[in-house]
Amino acid sequence: MLHYVARRLLLMIPTLFVISLLVYMIINMPPGDCVTSQIDELLARGDADALARAGELRAIYGLDHSVWYRYFHWLGGIFRWDFGLSCQDTVPVKDLIGERLALTIIMESCTILFIWTVSFVIGVYAATHQYKFGDYAASFIGFLGLAIPNFLLALVLLYVGKVYFGVSIGGLMDPEFIEQPLSWAKFVSVAQHLVIPTIVIGTSGTAGMIRRLRANLLDELQKQYVVTGRAKGLSPMKLLVKYPLRHAINPFVADIGHLLPEVVSGSVIVSVVLSLPTMGPMLLTALKTQDVNLAATFLLFVAVLTVIGMLISDLLLAALDPRIRFGAAGEK
């Protein structure tokens, strides 16, 4: 097992390296750089010595070097926990992303928990009540969740939340708690504001999960051992929970690999609409203004999170499913 974990961890390094390189180069692709737009703005304001400042600014951000030099400079800095300067206000990227990253992780964890709980309950219900009204209703809602664009659902729920439940618009907490130390009241406020984003990001993931759980459980319930168990007089509850459910629950863990990228994607767009203080909106502006260091750092963190999430899912799966555990042991 230890060997397996070590191998997986080692494999992460080239993967992350490739992703970081790819991302950095893509962001650098369009012509111009972040200074160009700043200078344009200064010129438009009639600042005469803007052009003179351009060179100065470029030197600060290292834009007078080649892309490769900048890339390796940035990459080298990461090991010293230094992500370079953000172009916006010449602030170190480190100072900008800390809290946003934490909030993002909180939000995404909540979303995954939400997806699990909801799809577990609905999936099991749909499988045990096949072709009944509840089953059809569940799959209909699931389809709808797939089809409604996240951002619009977010807007509508935001409106509903404001008008009917009085949750303040935007942000992840009531305005008076910003910059306050953590307290119970702040915690409650954050929890209240998490409800809408969690539901919105969760809907699309939930739909797929319900369908998989339902299909798996249906397959399992038709097997001989279930019939035998029933014939021998096992209680229906036990007959469901003891074996078939344990079997069918595999995708829950195995699918974190699919779920995590989906949730991250969803959270970016939903945060933009709801203007949450997570990384979504900042990433968007960073990409639009070609703030390379900031955007690349965000994207790298996204990649790290996903890769670690997948590793955890594989480990959990091995712990849960003896076939996979022994299969992996047999391989080496």
Binding site: T15, I26, V156, S265, V273, L283, L284, A295, F298, V302
Partner: protein, 395 residues
């Protein structure tokens, strides 16, 4: 299956008296097939699939709906009462005008009430009111605003036109006073084709790369596998954002359209490619593949002629199932302002106007472009499901 498959011949009747027939006996009589059975046994693979697909009601309805939608983009100019860019400066944010048939219990035919506007003194907002005294009959199969059919032929024929001197905003107008219905109709052109073109590109990529990996194995397989893993493990939206932000601002909107489709395809192929690879890995060991190899067939021929047709139907079904995510992705990108740019108009571009909460509260009809998005995605989903079920006719 049961309603197509022939019934097995009934068993021997229970107890009959012992008789010996002296008639000459034709041993093939038992094997004679009825016309129905013959049709079933002789049917080709695609025909069997079609029969199975036909039994999946929601899928058939969805397919018909999609066919209608795609047909509509051929004649958008006729369907839309106004042009894509016509501005009605006097009617900004006009609410939808309902169509009425009866007035005071008397049938007049389809008509709309004229809109009268005044300014609210407190909020300074423009308020529209239906003027019940003014009943304007709609015109059908009429000559209205002139357009260039597909940008080529001049014309002015419309299926429905606004009344003479009146307006017809079935779905309201936007912030520049442009008719929403016409814009939605025109935007379908872009939104519906982007999924098709995108999936074609991604399908081709998947066939080539997955085919190479699956057929050759070895290091080619290893490289392709690594690429798919990286692409699959990375959240798409941020990468899409980065890529579309990288499209030069100087590009023409049409080039941007193709750029966006390419970007969508670049990140979409891995899951299809994996399917191709794993199938090919299994199939290349089959006897007929080895035989073809022995006879000196080139790899391209073996893959294209002998191996791919074996699971093409599955591939098409799964490709169909990934069209919705492409349409949604384009919508999301355009909504965030990094996708298509005006004057190219897609449903996502229209929804870009509905970015803030005021829209939900005041001008709710700006969110209407989401309705066709939802319908089309549901239809694709159902049709894809039906196709997937039908793809295996012998199951």
């Amino acid at each position: 299956m049961s309603d197509i498959a022939p019934r097995p011949p009934a068993g021997r009747p229970a107890a009959t008296p012992h008789v010996v027939s002296h008639e000459p006996w034709d041993p093939y009589v038992a094997d004679k097939l009825t016309a129905d059975q013959e049709k079933y046994y002789m049917a080709g693979q695609w025909k069997l699939m079609w029969w199975r697909f036909r039994r999946h009601r929601p899928a058939v309805v969805s397919a018909a709906f999609l066919a209608l939608m795609y047909f509509s983009i051929l004649i958008s100019e006729w369907i839309a009462p106004y042009d894509l860019h016509t501005r009605h400066v006097r009617y900004i944010f006009a609410p939808p005008q309902g169509i009425h048939l009866f007035h005071d219990g008397q049938f007049i035919g389809p008509y709309v009430y004229g809109l009268s506007t005044h300014r609210d003194e407190d909020t300074l907002q423009r308020v529209y009111k239906a003027n019940h005294a003014e009943r304007q009959k709609l015109r059908f199969f009429c000559s209205g605003e002139s357009y260039k059919f597909w940008g080529l032929i001049e014309g002015s024929f419309h299926l429905v036109c606004p009344p003479e001197g009146g307006t017809f905003f079935l779905l309201g107008t936007d912030r520049l006073g442009r008719d929403m219905l016409s814009r939605i109709v025109y935007a379908a052109r872009i939104s519906l084709t982007i999924g098709i073109i995108g999936i074609t590109l991604s399908f081709t990529l998947a066939l080539i790369l997955g085919g190479l990996a699956g057929y050759y194995g070895g290091w080619v397989d290893l490289v392709v596998q690594r690429i798919t893993e990286i692409l699959k493990s990375f959240p798409h939206l941020p990468l899409w954002l980065a890529l579309s932000a990288a499209l030069p601002v100087t590009w023409s909107p049409l080039l941007v359209y193709f750029g966006i489709t390419l970007i969508l395809a670049l990140l979409d192929w891995p899951s299809l490619g994996r399917a191709v690879r794993s199938k090919l890995l299994a199939l290349r060991e089959e006897d007929y593949a080895v035989a073809a190899q022995m006879m000196g067939a080139k790899p391209a021929r073996i893959i294209g002629r002998h191996l791919l047709p074996g699971f093409m139907s599955h591939l098409i079904a799964s490709a169909t199932l990934s069209i919705p995510s492409m349409i949604l992705a384009e919508t999301a990108l355009s909504f965030l302002g990094l996708g298509l740019r005006p004057p190219i108009t897609s449903w996502g571009v229209l929804l870009n106007e509905a970015t803030d909460i005021n829209v939900v509260a005041v001008n709710w009809w700006l969110m209407l472009p989401v309705v066709p998005v939802i319908l089309v995605i549901l239809a694709y989903q159902f049709m894809g499901d039906g196709m997937r079920d039908a793809a295996d006719p012998y199951a």
